[in-house]
């Protein structure tokens, strides 16, 4: 680092030298700040990696096609609890058909949830899930789930939606039961687009009808 040095030669301009050193340090430290700004954003992929490794946030759950399943025999039993929440922005009723179920490890089981649209228009919803305890999500395998796609419910419609899953026999022994929880959110842009389209379709229908009546 540059510092005042007692120099014998008065022709050396210390001030200019220090100014230069200050500029250099300024550049370095500004770059460090920009780097740390980037690091803030890098925490997003790092957090995703962390979640996938630990199963945190339900991110360990695997999706497997039904035909790729293996067969397992004589595994222990475990209780799965089913939980449902609706985000306050969505006017739906959403419930599990059964609140818990005892299954054998490795065995395919099915359960279902029901959703009913209480709003006075069609709404597209999107379900997000989580698994507790988090490490259990690493052993949770789904072959079919309503959370894989967006769900469209017409005004007043009620729908039963299946989930097919199994728990891997590698599940650690200290996990005695697992909770599978869903929260339904409204997909706002999709719902808006849908209802706009419905409105224009209706408008066009009306117009065509009037035209045809006039013709005859």
């Amino acid at each position: 680092m540059q510092r005042y040095l007692p120099v014998a030669d008065p022709k050396i301009d210390l001030r200019a030298e220090i100014k230069l050193a200050n500029r250099r340090l300024l550049r370095i430290l500004v770059l460090v700040s920009i780097g740390m700004f980037g690091f803030g954003f890098a925490l997003w992929p790092l957090y995703t990696i962390f979640c996938e490794a630990t199963g945190f946030g339900g991110r360990g759950v695997q999706e497997v096609a039904a035909e790729d399943l293996k067969q397992y025999q004589n595994q222990r039993e475990i209780t799965i609890r089913f939980d449902a929440t609706v985000n306050s922005g969505l006017n739906w009723k959403f419930k599990p058909v059964q609140t818990s179920k005892t299954v054998k490890l490795g065995e395919i089981s099915q359960t279902s949830y029901t959703a009913a649209n209480l709003a006075d228009q069609a709404v597209i919803g999107h379900a997000v899930f989580n698994v507790a305890p988090p490490e259990a999500s690493l052993y949770f395998v789904k072959t079919e789930c309503f959370c894989f796609t967006e769900q469209l419910l017409e005004e007043g419609e009620r729908k039963e939606m299946p989930v097919t899953f199994y728990i891997s026999p590698d599940l650690p022994d200290d996990i005695g039961n697992i909770t599978l929880s869903y929260t339904f959110f409204e997909n706002v842009p999709a719902t808006l687009a849908l209802n706009e389209k419905l409105a224009t379709d209706k408008f066009n229908d009306l117009n065509t009808n009037t035209l045809t009546t006039n013709d005859t």
């Binding site: 460090v32 700040s33 803030g40 954003f41 945190f56 842009p189």
Partner: protein
């Protein structure tokens, strides 16, 4: 006689208000600006605290609407953290660092001017959100989504204000680092620097490391709200818990940003009034550096209850508790410095002693909070409120008061009124404990924080706390009066001011001339700050 004209020329200040203050590049004037601004913010934030304590004086809703109450807790915290405590320490850095290391000014004087003048604009914007449609942000200073995203039209103004504060802090920090690394007088080696300079150097690195991370988090909030990204939006595949991780990655180092310079001030004052060198100077330096390092790896102790893997809880518990080791070293060294010293108890020393005792209480409640199973009960209760007010008010703010009384004669050339100063200390110390100590009990009994009403069993302690709050608030007008009187006049101060004072700042006249150390001073050991070193 030529000398007088030379002196006059030497002390030549820019003429006119604009030139002197608005365009100032002088470290002393900018330091003064920072300090005055911080004091103003202290009173603005303080008046919000008075509204909070008035509403909590009795159970039931008496004075304000719940939404407004929540705006008060949020804006009070933002103003105190970013407007009062941080700028006050930057003010001390501006005034004292060049004087302590024998430099003529800060390294980058124009940037210094800029970093100060951003602040009034940022805070006008932040405070103006109170008058906007839907009011100021009300989701707490921690800005957790999704709640903060529901703020009314003031959201973007508050976020932009935080961005500006961040930029100001980063520029201030760069300036401090460049000054300390490049501008030291010959002979002022790193391990001869006063501890205040050391702690500020470390603080500046913390600032550069974490303020940009906060800026990143705020930017993500903005894009989530306006550009339909889903960083923190569960419906779109994001996770609100991620925000908490990013925020506290900034937030925990931030609390050390607010306490390390305080450690530095206390380490200057205690040796002066104990008339002994600082015990364990080098261990103080290493303790500060390890506190700073550890502060990066403990952040999740603020989020034990979000549902972390068990291994994570245990790791963050143990890492957090480890911080109390270097902190303990510091407290031990302060006490050893006083051991068998010839102590006198002028106001700066009283505040410093108050700091040592009361900050340590805050450290102990911090340790209690670090115990995971206990924190499940304490989290989001008044126990947390008591903890951080002990470390921040009787810690950081007491250190700021101590430092003001200590260097005020150097700044103004006059002695302050010692009798009033002592009154200010004793009233403050009694009322601040009346204000915050009962909050420990409230928290242990389960009273949640950030709630405008409470059930009747909490009534007595809340009333005591409110009375302490009003009295503490009123007492601070004494501080303004004492400082004002001291600026205007008073007994003339000598250059050394205090019998036991050591360090380069005491070798210049009082008040410190407008320009100092234009030529680097010759340093001998008797001028170097307290340290049993070398």
């Amino acid at each position: 006689m030529p000398t007088t004209t030379h002196e006059d020329h030497h002390d030549h200040k820019p003429q006119g208000f604009l030139n002197r203050w608005v365009f100032s590049t002088n470290h002393k004037d900018i330091g003064t600006l920072y300090l005055v601004f911080a004091l103003l913010m202290f009173f603005i934030g303080g008046s919000m605290a008075m509204i909070i304590r008035a509403e909590l004086f009795m159970p039931g809703m008496q004075l304000v609407q719940p939404e407004f109450f929540n705006q008060m807790t949020t804006v009070h915290a933002l103003v105190m953290v970013f407007g009062a405590v941080m700028p006050a320490f930057v003010g001390f850095a501006n005034w004292m660092i060049p004087l302590m290391i024998g430099a003529p000014d800060m390294a980058l004087p124009r940037m210094n001017n800029w970093s100060f003048w951003i602040l009034p604009f940022a805070f006008s914007m932040l405070v103006s959100t109170l008058f906007m449609d839907g009011g100021a942000p009300a989701g707490g200073w921690t800005l957790y989504p999704p709640l903060v995203l529901q703020t009314g039209s003031s959201f973007i103004f508050a976020m932009f204000a935080i961005h500006m504060l961040g930029i100001s802090s980063i520029m201030g920090a760069i300036n401090v680092i460049a000054t300390i690394l490049n501008m030291r007088a010959p002979g002022m080696t790193l391990l001869r620097m006063p501890l205040f300079v050391w702690t500020w150097l470390i603080t500046a690195f913390l600032l550069i490391a974490v303020m940009p991370v906060l800026a990143g988090a705020v930017t993500m909030l903005i894009t989530d709200r306006f550009f339909l990204t889903s960083f923190f939006n569960a419906a779109g595949g994001g996770d609100p818990v991620l925000f908490q991780h990013i925020f506290w990655f900034f937030g925990h180092p931030e609390v050390y940003i607010m306490i390390l310079p305080a450690f530095g001030i206390i380490s200057e004052i205690i040796p002066t009034f104990a008339r002994k060198p600082l015990f364990g100077y080098t261990s103080m330096v290493y303790a500060s550096a390890s506190i700073a390092f550890l502060s990066f790896i403990v952040w999740a102790h603020h989020m034990f209850t979000v549902g972390m893997p068990l291994g994570g809880e245990i790791y963050f518990m143990l890492a957090t508790m480890m911080i109390s080791i270097p902190t303990g070293v510091k407290v031990f060294n302060w006490i050893s410095t006083m051991w068998r010293g010839s102590m006198t108890f002028e106001t700066p020393m009283l505040f410093a002693l108050g700091f040592v005792v009361l900050f340590t209480i805050g450290g102990f409640s911090g340790l209690m909070l670090a115990i995971v199973p206990a924190d499940f009960q304490y989290h989001d209760t008044y126990f947390v409120v008591a903890h951080f007010h002990y470390v921040l008010v009787t810690g950081s703010v007491f250190a700021l008061m101590a430092g003001t009384y200590y260097w005020l004669p150097k700044w103004t050339g006059h002695m302050y009124n010692e009798r009033l100063g002592k009154w200010h200390f004793w009233l403050s110390v009694v009322f601040v404990n009346l204000l915050f100590f009962p909050q420990h009990y409230l928290g242990l009994a389960g009273m949640p924080r950030r709630i405008p009403d409470y059930s009747p069993q909490f009534a007595d302690f809340n009333m005591l706390s409110s009375i302490g709050g009003f009295a503490f608030g009123l007492t601070q007008f004494m501080f303004v009066y004492i400082v004002w009187k001291c600026v205007r006049g008073g007994e003339t101060a000598t250059s050394r001011v205090w019998e036991g004072a050591r360090g380069l700042e005491w070798t210049v006249a009082s008040p410190a001339p407008f320009h100092t150390f234009e030529t680097p001073p010759d340093i001998d050991d008797s001028m170097v700050a307290h340290g049993d070193h070398l």
